[in-house]
């Protein structure tokens, strides 16, 4: 089998916010840098982000600063976050956002002409820099333009299928070009994985076809640790009707701008679900919530802006108790605000509902329900350098774990991409400076090629699309928002069976832009994450953040508040799951969070 060879210092896999920011940095530091992505440039998930990017710029509320952002992030993550990542993130996010402005991004302005900021769930002050409800588009286009002018070699519509090591160090990657099906071997000194999340292992998700957990699987197979895989974020508000749009996101910005949640009885139910952790700063009457929205600094925030895990569970409970809408959701209402305001602040939501559901959100409420949205877990990385446990292999963005702990705050992902994308690029460049290139082993390359070609050569076999749908159903039914030992055990068994069948997928047709072939390869990656999510969820016998166990409804203040769950390949090739203590908090970090710890006694699964 023929393949072309390319040589670079740094290879970045993924061209979303994290990958682009990493590539810009590595290239600016004089390293020959390539960026590889599955879609066209500018189409990565980052383009879909709506609400905003979190950074304590202090343009709208002077009380904000990095310490408050740090505290909010830790509280949102139920203290499982890597404290050092949370600190670096809060400290560096403002400069990363401002730098985008100098590169051409045009954020919405305050009255004085500075970058405007909006409210979001779990953030104490208006903190999210934004552009209407298309912030991700602004960020990816800015980075894309910066990148192509910065001398990065772009390989778009290429998919990486395997990483290679030599004497324990990363040295190359194999990929195929989607258009032709031809293979390329990249030889390099450092690799940055910025491949995003795993949403496609669920049936109802806001994520695109790209989110098949490739980076998690590539890293895992190269020997890197996966961490916190049980924490899958179900965003509380997605479209539920018509069926064709089920799962498509409704930005939290709707609630940030005053959107109210009601059940089918017309009750504003979120007042019933205020957990002790947030009771002090959450309004307990409609009147107070309204005053807050009008800018009264003495008033407390509306309960609709509690963290995502809390709101998602509340909605699920309302529906379960029979107070849901006809299509199994609840109502989200912004129609009480001035129509011109709604169209200016939430233009794409307005169009999305108008065109896809025939609903005018300036006149009537939306029907919404939870959707699989984001993965807090992923590759374990060093806080400073973003290096995984494999030397020379770095990871940033949604594929990496640590910053968000058990639950991510809205807006903290875009800032994560910028802060740790830059760090990954910087440290990958330094690594490339200090290490020589090595040769990938020819036999390993040959075996990887053969494996990749197998589905095309099989005359008959499983339909990859049907198999993926089966996996999605298993995860949706057995490893969903509310989990339980028996079901998780069943899921592990089903995944083992699907793993065997995935080896028997057949893809009719040739190598040219063949969606069946691509899906047959993607599903093998997807299964690694599905298994890790399930096994980690089984091990963590408590409820915390986005992980809710019906059989262990309490948040455990002893054992489970002190450990991360890790997955790595065992000696026999099977996945091994273990725990490891969280890094200890230094005194100054502890002080910032102090006083809020005792309140983590959620009994939300009621």
């Amino acid at each position: 089998m023929q393949y072309r060879i390319e040589a670079f210092d740094v290879v970045v896999v993924g061209a979303g916010g994290a990958g682009l920011r990493a590539a810009i940095e590595a290239s600016a530091r004089g390293k020959r840098t390539a960026i590889i992505c599955k879609s066209l440039l500018g189409k990565a998930h980052t383009v879909m982000a709506e609400g905003g990017v979190a950074a304590a710029l202090r343009n709208v509320d002077e009380r904000d600063n990095w310490q408050v952002h740090f505290r909010d992030t830790m509280r949102g993550g139920k203290f499982l976050n890597n404290w050092r990542m949370a600190q670096l993130h809060a400290q560096e996010a403002p400069e990363r956002v401002r730098e985008l402005e100098r590169w051409g991004a045009v954020f919405d302005r305050t009255k004085d002409g500075w970058i405007n900021q909006r409210n979001f769930g779990g953030h104490a002050y208006p903190r999210l820099a934004h552009v209407g409800d298309r912030t991700g588009l602004e960020i990816i286009r800015t980075l894309q333009d910066k990148g192509v002018h910065g001398g990065i070699a772009v390989f778009m519509e290429h998919t990486v299928v395997k990483l290679f090591k030599s004497e324990g160090r990363i040295c190359g990657a194999l990929c195929y070009e989607r258009e032709t099906g031809r293979f390329l071997l990249f030889k390099c000194k450092a690799i940055v994985l910025a491949t995003g999340g795993v949403g496609r292992c669920y049936k109802v998700t806001s994520n695109s076809w790209e989110y098949t957990g490739d980076g998690q699987a590539l890293g895992y197979e190269a020997g890197a640790d996966l961490m916190d895989m049980e924490f899958t974020q179900f965003h509380p508000t997605a479209m539920v009707w018509p069926p064709s749009v089920k799962g498509i996101l409704v930005t939290e910005g709707v609630r940030g701008e005053g959107g109210i949640l009601r059940n089918s009885k017309g009750e504003r139910f979120m007042f019933k679900y205020i957990s002790p952790l947030f009771a002090k700063e959450t309004a307990d009457t409609e009147e107070e919530a309204k005053r807050w929205l009008e800018g009264d600094k003495a008033a407390r925030r509306p309960p609709e802006l509690l963290t995502r895990d809390e709101v998602a569970r509340a909605i699920r409970n309302e529906v379960k108790q029979g107070r849901g809408t006809k299509h199994g959701g609840v109502f989200l209402d912004i129609s009480w605000r001035d129509p011109a305001f709604v169209k200016a602040k939430l233009p794409s939501m307005y169009h999305q509902f108008k065109e896809l559901a025939g609903v005018d959100i300036t006149k009537e409420p939306m029907e919404v329900g939870p959707t699989m949205h984001y993965h807090m877990g992923g590759l374990r990385v060093d806080a400073e350098s973003a290096m995984t446990t494999v030397p020379g292999l770095f990871a940033a963005g949604e594929v990496a774990a640590g910053l968000h702990g058990a639950n991510r705050l809205g807006g903290n992902s875009l800032s994560d991409l910028l802060v740790f994308g830059k760090r990954a690029g910087e440290f990958a460049a330094t690594w490339a400076e200090r290490h020589e290139a090595r040769e990938p082993d020819a036999a390993e390359v040959g075996a990887a090629l053969q494996g990749a070609m197998a589905p095309l050569e099989r005359e008959q076999g499983e339909n990859p699309f049907a198999l993926q749908a089966e996996l999605q159903q298993v995860m949706q039914d057995l490893v969903g928002m509310i989990r339980e030992r028996g079901e998780l055990g069943q899921a592990v068994e089903r995944i083992q069976e699907l793993k065997k069948r995935a080896q028997q997928c057949a893809a009719p047709g040739n190598r040219m832009y063949n969606a069946g072939w691509h899906t047959a390869l993607d599903i093998q990656h997807l299964l690694v994450s599905a298994e890790a999510i399930t096994r980690s969820a089984l091990l963590r016998e408590e409820s915390r953040g986005a992980h809710t166990r019906d059989d262990f409804p309490q948040t455990d203040k002893e054992k489970w508040s002190k450990v991360n769950v890790l997955c790595r390949p065992g000696a026999d090739g099977a996945m091994s799951v273990t725990t490891e203590p969280l890094p200890a908090w230094p005194d100054d970090a502890r002080k910032l969070i102090e006083g809020t710890l005792e309140a983590v006694t959620t009994k939300e699964a009621a």
Partner: protein
């Protein structure tokens, strides 16, 4: 009223070497969009069918195609827009070289983008330097934010007759890049001079203001009125305005009238 039963999807299958339309029957579901129907064909009847998509919500600009002859985003085009008895024809964008089925080679757009000089921030106030931010009023950025809504679906490029019929891709960058240029030119803090390249390389003069691009833009960007016409005016001011021409001619080192 929800439409029921099957719909006939007439999809282009083939490569640059040749191909034909093939009919597929798909069961309708309420609210279905063209992209759903194409995906149903792909999952059940033609696994190797090539189609681009990502967001399924009109945000990424991947799923452009010609639906019943009109350039559209497949994910934002509902089946019930069309006569229930008739087949729905989906063809790849005509302006770009075909790769396979519904996928075309749009790389040219990325290459011309690379040739456009990026933002060059001009002199900043002391306050701006201290903060590391620009001070710009919302009303002064409203007009460039309109251009920045572009999702790079390239439907406007597909429609523009200069590119579509004449295939003059070496003479005209097309409407998408015109608004990229307009965005940079109208940025309150930009200090670069792109007028010569807008005239020559990018070929703004090739546009004869038919406004077809504006009509197909899914982001409702007023490409011609707000982007291209002001650029044309700037070019005219520079090159054909008598006062400017005189000043240019008198500029040191300039030996001939332009």
């Amino acid at each position: 009223m929800a439409q029921r039963g099957n719909v006939t999807m007439r999809l282009w299958r083939g490569t640059a070497a040749g191909g034909q339309f093939v009919d597929y029957q798909v069961a309708r579901e309420e609210g279905m969009v063209v992209l759903d129907a194409v995906h149903a064909v792909q999952a059940q009847q033609a696994n190797d069918l090539s189609v681009r998509w990502n967001c399924k919500a009109g945000k990424c600009g991947s799923c452009s195609a010609e639906v019943n002859g009109y350039p559209r985003l497949m994910c934002m085009t509902r089946l019930d827009l069309f006569d229930p008895g008739e087949p729905i024809t989906v063809a790849p964008l005509k302006t770009f070289p075909l790769v396979k089925d519904l996928v075309t080679n749009v790389r040219w757009n990325f290459e011309s983008a690379k040739r456009i000089p990026p933002l060059k921030p001009g002199p900043l106030t002391a306050e701006e330097q201290r903060k590391g931010e620009f001070q710009m009023m919302q009303q002064d950025v409203d007009r460039i934010q309109e251009f920045r809504k572009c999702i790079e679906c390239f439907l406007c490029q597909d429609t523009c007759h200069v590119l579509r019929d004449a295939q003059d891709t070496d003479k005209f960058f097309g409407p998408r890049q015109m608004i990229r240029l307009a965005n940079l030119e109208m940025h309150p803090k930009d200090s670069a001079d792109r007028i010569p390249m807008i005239k020559k390389e990018a070929g703004v003069g090739m546009c004869n203001i038919t406004k077809c691009c504006t009509e197909v833009c899914p982001e409702h960007i007023r490409i011609t009125d707000n982007g291209i016409i002001p650029l044309k005016e700037r070019v005219v001011d520079r090159y054909y305005d008598p006062v400017t021409m005189l000043l240019n001619a008198l500029r040191p080192g300039n030996t001939k009238l332009r």
